[in-house]
């Protein structure tokens, strides 16, 4: 429970660990897309955290740590592409909303970063899963809130130089400022 709170809020992947920013900025223009991306990422990330734990055990046993990044990313790429194909087939609407971003889940730092952190912090299997799931939840939460915010901001009278990405980043800055408040919440 505590580790969940910690990963979702206190050490939020996006705002505190600064991982997964490209989809955070890219897929948050519409709430609907944000929800879809959040769901897809949650699925992939949890799966990636679990399976990369297993592979990591294998690598550790064989003294092959230098293969960590490579093997993790291969697993992730596999999971992502599989998910992509399934979504493409089963839900064309979702597929269209997520558009080019689904393959980009592979290049979502968080999806590689979390398994790497799991390995670095020597988490157990259960911890790895919770860590992965919690991070993904944190990602989705922020993504969704941000998506709703950006929809609202579409109507705001933003000064010309700040229109578009600049104001989105500025909003992210203030969100991250707000999340500083969670600092030191779990010790």
């Amino acid at each position: 429970m505590l580790i969940l709170v910690s990963t979702v809020l206190v050490n939020n992947v996006v705002l505190v660990r600064i991982l997964g920013l490209c989809p955070f900025m890219g897929v948050s223009r519409k709430l609907e897309a944000a929800i879809g991306m959040g769901a897809a990422t949650t699925f992939v990330l949890t799966l990636a955290a679990g399976s990369s734990y297993l592979v990591n055990q294998l690598l550790l046993a064989a003294n092959l740590e230098f293969l960590r990044t490579l093997s993790f990313i291969v697993i992730i790429a596999g999971i992502v592409q599989f998910t992509e194909m399934v979504i493409h087939k089963t839900s064309p609407v979702l597929y269209q909303v997520l558009g080019i971003y689904l393959p980009l889940i592979t290049t979502n730092c968080a999806v590689l970063g979390i398994p790497l952190l799991n390995a670095q912090l020597q988490h157990s299997f259960a911890e790895s899963l919770v860590f992965g799931f919690g991070s993904a939840l944190g990602f989705s939460l922020i993504l969704i809130l941000f998506g709703a915010m950006r929809e609202r901001l579409e109507g705001a009278d933003i000064p010309a130089p700040f229109q578009g990405n600049a104001i989105a980043l500025l909003t992210a800055a203030l969100m991250s400022l707000a999340f500083m408040g969670f600092g030191g919440l779990t010790r």
Binding site: V16, L21, T107, L170
Partner: protein, 234 residues
């Protein structure tokens, strides 16, 4: 296939400015935001990324004909991952101090979106030399943003520039550090995550202003509107 010099220039202009990864495409943001609290780290990571981007673009381009569509992604990412791991190991061996600072963000170059995006969007469709050049320019564009953001944050946050240059350049680098404010000057916001977002937002806004100016000038040049002449420039 041979290309006129303008094609190279075009690629360079796109990579460095028009389609700049950090400012326009907003790809590769994580390292940009996480490792930009001083110039030296930013520069180091930027160069490492550039290296990987150029190499991986070249490699992807050279194998592009043998990769079936369905496994395009895994193959590309595998190429990138192995290149990254090589860079990671090399830095660990020969630039160890910097390696410690950059931490998890070196393996994460793998997932640096810009690397993959270039592999997908450009390298998988273009000949090797163009691809390598594009990768290098994109990487340099990102490095530029990293350094600018690093400078901004370091300057506003700590009042210094190039602190820790010795990590990159050896002891001689220490002399390079500039102290531009009192020793106890500190504005933490800029050094913390919010400052990273804020700094990048300001850079993008700055670019927008420059672009708008350029557009205005271009427009004024094509249609020399009388009122544009008459009204004094602000």
């Amino acid at each position: 296939m041979s290309n006129t010099p303008s094609v190279w220039q075009d690629i360079a202009r796109k990579g460095l400015w028009q389609q700049n990864a950090g400012l326009v495409q907003l790809l590769g943001l994580c390292p940009v935001l996480a490792i930009s609290n001083n110039v030296v780290n930013a520069l180091a990571l930027g160069l490492a990324t550039t290296l990987v981007t150029a190499l991986s673009s070249a490699t992807v381009s050279s194998v592009r004909h043998w990769v079936p569509h369905t496994i395009r992604n895994p193959v590309f990412i595998m190429i990138i991952a192995s290149l990254v791991t090589c860079v990671d190991l090399a830095m660990n061996a020969w630039l160890h101090e910097l390696y410690l600072v950059l931490g998890i963000f070196i393996p994460l170059i793998t997932t640096n979106c810009i690397v993959m995006a270039r592999a997908e969007a450009f390298a998988s469709r273009q000949p090797v030399r163009e691809a390598a050049w594009d990768g290098a320019m994109m990487g340099l564009g990102l490095t530029g943003v990293l350094v600018a953001l690093g400078a901004l944050r370091e300057l506003l946050g700590k009042g210094t520039l190039l602190a820790g240059a010795d990590k990159l350049l050896g002891p001689a680098g220490q002399q390079l550090t500039l102290h531009l404010a009192g020793a106890d000057y500190q504005f933490l916001l800029m050094l913390l995550p919010p400052g990273a977002f804020l700094g990048l937002a300001l850079l993008i806004a700055g670019k927008n202003v420059l672009d708008a100016r350029a557009r205005q000038r271009a427009a004024a040049a094509t249609y020399p509107a009388p009122d544009a002449e008459a009204s004094p420039a602000p």
